[in-house]
Symmetry: C2
Subunit: 446 residues, 2 copies
């Protein structure tokens, strides 16, 4: 037995209804009504918890996805779903995407604190600023707010949310039955925040959550996104197709965190991987190919058009991306996503049809097609080579893709001593090795 | 066996942390940390479900209650708590208060639909317009919007929410794996609503909930509140201290519903009762007295001042209510609540101290102090005499007050054939005998 602390990798199970591949719902074994079937989600959550994943994650946006014609267009509101899943699990962390642009800080801080309470300290918030024009139209806006504006609002939102979570000091509740004194009003703090976007009096009407603050997660990789992540994020979901890009991003984020006065180990970087696993490479490729052949090209064209804020008709399936797109127009939506696609198309000289095929399954993430050993080797190389602190596992089909990863790849990672055999703690912060934040209102006694 | 359908009464368990009495947390058996203790709520929910209550209910407002000095000032966000409770129960309806003033229709319609999905059709929404200035201050407002303004906004909010819940026709999802066609976009409806308060494009990104719409509940008894209830509410929580007032309200609401073109049986009227139950009247009075003696007068004064939108210093504990209050100033907060207190004070010639004592436990509701037979007789008289379709049971202390009601009063009501022996359906609408609303977007095939 050694007391030396070995660096372990962290795994997040990024869940989706039938899987991350756009055509996953068409597979013979898929449940095409999985999106609103709680039993589907409970099954996935328990699968990930039994395998000792750090967390599970639900992406989200407040609008239907596309027209619904080619892919499930809706999903349960993710904090509601997480709350239900919190009662079917006991250890795994629970992370949901929620928009800082289309919520009020008081309401959202309260909901996240409440999920943290009912889950026993397992809530995480993936902060998004909501890039879609279709989302804006559900909230009275003719167009989404500008990119920089959204991040400025998110920054103020976060500062308020943190103060609200801190507004009850741990000594606030006296519960003195004999004296009839419930709480010490001097330890329930008002914010009286008046800022550019919000005015919030406080205190929050929920006791400080078990984790202090829910775990703060971020995924935008634009300049604004990285700066925001360096200030606030404790875990980062990111998309890179090559080791070099992932390693550059990793070094950049850690440096920015350090520059912001934070411990770089307090920011856990988790690139997404999309594993297609077979007992041979050929079998793995066949699994990927089966899914790719189920794609509907019209769907991919619409997706591509949405990223570049244009119409599907500007694309020719058998030609390269049009010149005005290669010129990288300034977009109000997701700049990191569009840059990633342009780079991929230029680097590999792809036609639009090929671009669609390449972004459809993994959406710009690292696709790993191979045997369990090959997948485990790639994971190990990224982790040990300084490109990742762990991974965001995006199974192309669910539950099958997650089951295969757990059954075939995890034992190899465990044999290498890279992944936990069991949970050591009970909270999401404990799984990621992150501390409970200090309370900004806490003063020494007296 | 008879096929004649007997009218049965409906029961809602209005839950609170340690009970409805302001001093309940001080009782020796009370858990003063019940508010954030999920196990407390699960226990109460299972108690009510085992007793076959139609529903349980959580009140709410987005601000701390008072200063926290004399009574628990916070609570878990109620839709989060209901979602957790939905996984610990299987039949009982789950109703939460949520503000229409401090939420966006798209977000809230989605959350309610999601709770309805994960609970299997058991969600209800008690619509409040948020009367408090302390709530307004958490949402960037220097004061709450005016009373009529709040109701106009709520009306538009409801019309949008209903359209969003209807936006997926039941035939919308094809899930045609062979053809690769997931949904029929012609059956996913946009609203393109542009109104006075909101612009919402739609469709919702959640499939129509199992109940069509979550059950719509309302509690305001002002003129604006009654008109709103007649248009939208399917169940009404109301507060009356006398049979006459309750019967007047009942007749008025049913007439207004009829005038709005609705079936009056589609609006279930549930007055609140606060039962103090003892094996003798003297024992019941002793239970009430024990609680009253635990009151802190400073707390009651603050509560009274808040209702009348003034300062505690205007009151003299041993004098009547001051003249400017008896003159019924126009208030922006809850007018029905303030009217009720003035009427009580005038009818019984009460001092401020007595008023505080009378409104502290039951907050204007029907307090029933007596033996199980006396309580059951009063319930029966109101129900059979046309003052109620059922009751909102507000136990002064929890869980004890609910346990006693279930153990002592329910058997009497069941022996009279007035309350169910078991659930007949699985949804909240089924328990209350209310139909699934027609889908406004549904057209005949073709």
């Amino acid at each position: 037995m050694t007391t030396e602390r070995r660096r372990r990798l962290h795994l997040n199970a990024f869940l989706m209804e039938a899987g991350h591949h756009e055509a996953a719902w068409r597979l013979p074994d898929s449940n095409p009504r999985a999106d609103f079937d709680l039993q589907h989600w409970i099954k996935l959550a328990r699968l990930a918890e039994d395998a000792k994943f750090d967390s599970l994650f639900l992406a989200d946006g407040p609008a239907v996805i596309g027209t619904g014609e080619f892919r499930p267009p809706g999903q349960l509101e993710p904090l509601t779903l997480l709350t239900a899943l919190s009662q079917a699990t006991s250890r795994i962390g629970l992370i949901a995407t929620v928009s800082s642009t289309y919520n009020e800080p008081y309401n959202l801080a309260r909901r996240l604190a409440s999920v943290d309470h009912v889950s026993g300290g397992r809530a995480g918030w993936n902060i998004v600023t909501s890039a879609g024009a279709d989302e804006a139209a559900n909230f009275g806006l003719t167009d989404r707010p500008a990119h920089a504006e959204r991040y400025a609002r998110a920054d103020e939102f976060l500062r308020i949310a943190k103060a609200l979570w801190d507004s009850w000091e741990s000594e606030a509740v006296l519960a003195d039955k004999a004296a009839g004194r419930y709480a010490d009003p001097g330890r329930l703090h008002r914010l009286d925040h008046k800022g550019r976007y919000f005015s919030v009096a406080g205190p929050l009407n929920v006791e400080r959550p078990p984790q202090g603050h829910p775990l703060l997660v971020q995924a935008g990789s634009s300049e604004d996104g990285r700066e925001f992540a360096a200030r606030h994020a404790e875990a980062i979901f990111t998309a890179h197709r090559t080791y070099e890009r992932a390693a550059d991003f990793y070094a950049d984020i850690k440096a920015r965190a350090r520059a912001a006065g934070r411990d770089p180990d307090g920011v856990v970087v988790l690139p997404g991987i999309v594993p297609y696993i077979g007992s041979t490479e050929a079998e793995a490729r066949a699994i990927a190919q089966e899914l790719d052949e189920l794609r509907v090209p019209a769907y991919g064209l619409r997706q591509l058009a949405a990223v570049f804020e244009t119409e599907p008709s500007v694309f020719d399936l058998d030609a390269p991306l049009p010149g005005f797109i290669l010129a990288r127009p300034k977009l109000e939506g997701s700049q990191s996503r569009s840059d990633l696609i342009i780079e991929l198309a230029e680097r590999e000289q792809l036609t639009v049809r090929q671009v669609i095929s390449r972004i459809g399954g993994g959406r710009g993430h690292f696709e790993l097609v191979g045997t369990p050993d090959q997948v485990a080797d790639a994971v190990t190389a990224w982790f040990e080579g300084g490109a990742a602190d762990g991974f965001n596992i995006m199974a192309p089909a669910l539950p099958s893709g997650l089951e295969t990863f757990i059954e075939e790849v995890l034992p190899i990672l465990r044999a290498k001593g890279l992944f936990r055999e069991d949970y050591q703690g009970t909270t999401l912060r404990e799984h990621y090795g992150l501390p409970i934040p200090a309370n900004q209102f806490h003063h020494a006694a007296g």
